[in-house]
Symmetry: C2
Subunit: 150 residues, 2 copies
């Protein structure tokens, strides 16, 4: 199955998720690991669409998500840069575009290794906290810890 | 905002719903009314997308759905024929296409006034029962009543 660029934009406008988590990680010099990811979840009957999206972007992993759901997950920075380049050239039409722009800022900061410094990480956490609509107490806690360590 | 055809296919693959209900209606000669509808629901922050879809198809009503959700609803048969023509020319890529094809069969039967006869209505109910994944006890009950009336 071949996907057109506009189909991908329309489908991701509806089903795509740009998400950034920050987890405690004692091995990292700043004590935290930043995990940006682009995710599309589908009922497993439409796994072929996730595989087609993976081929479209040339990157990602398709696997079981939960129950009868599968997901495409793109986590590596080079892959995410490709995804970001695509959605800069072919903008999302829903308000998801606002979150995407913030997500891209984080990916670009990580590409410049800014997540390995306290100030860069704090900047990333601030952007992530302004994304999506859900409350994120864990991320808020990371922010407080970084501020106290400053 | 201008929508491309492929964007609409991608978005509807994800968010569109083709649904048929059959309600008791003593005014109708067969005692039941068939209500096919094409629905897209969005958070109200993306109402502009629903308005753009309405302009794209040249038909439909955008209104509050529930809570913070708005919806585009297309119910009239001529409008649904336009929607069906579009998705025949530009096929959905997910398994939703299977339900769409059944939905279209019902719309075409209604266009030929087959829903005004008991046999036609029974045919429509059988198709509707094979659509979507949810159990539909109300529709099953209509089917039993039609069979008993035969």
């Amino acid at each position: 199955m071949e996907l057109s660029r506009d189909w991908v934009v329309g489908f991701v406008d509806a089903e795509g998720c740009f998400h950034v988590s920050v987890n405690q990680c004692p091995n990292m010099s700043v004590g935290f690991q930043v995990l940006p990811e682009f995710v599309v979840v589908q009922h497993r009957r439409d796994r072929h669409v996730l595989m087609a999206l993976k081929r479209f972007f040339g990157v990602g992993i398709v696997r079981r998500n939960h129950d009868d759901r599968d997901c495409l997950r793109i986590r590596n920075i080079d892959g995410l840069c490709k995804v970001c380049d695509f959605f800069m050239a072919h903008p999302l039409k829903t308000k998801k575009n606002v979150d995407f722009r913030k997500f891209r800022r984080i990916v670009l900061l990580m590409q410049r290794n800014r997540h390995l410094t306290r100030d860069g990480l704090l900047q990333i956490v601030d952007i992530a906290l302004s994304m999506n609509t859900a409350e994120r107490p864990a991320l808020e806690k990371v922010r407080q810890e970084l501020l106290q360590a400053g």
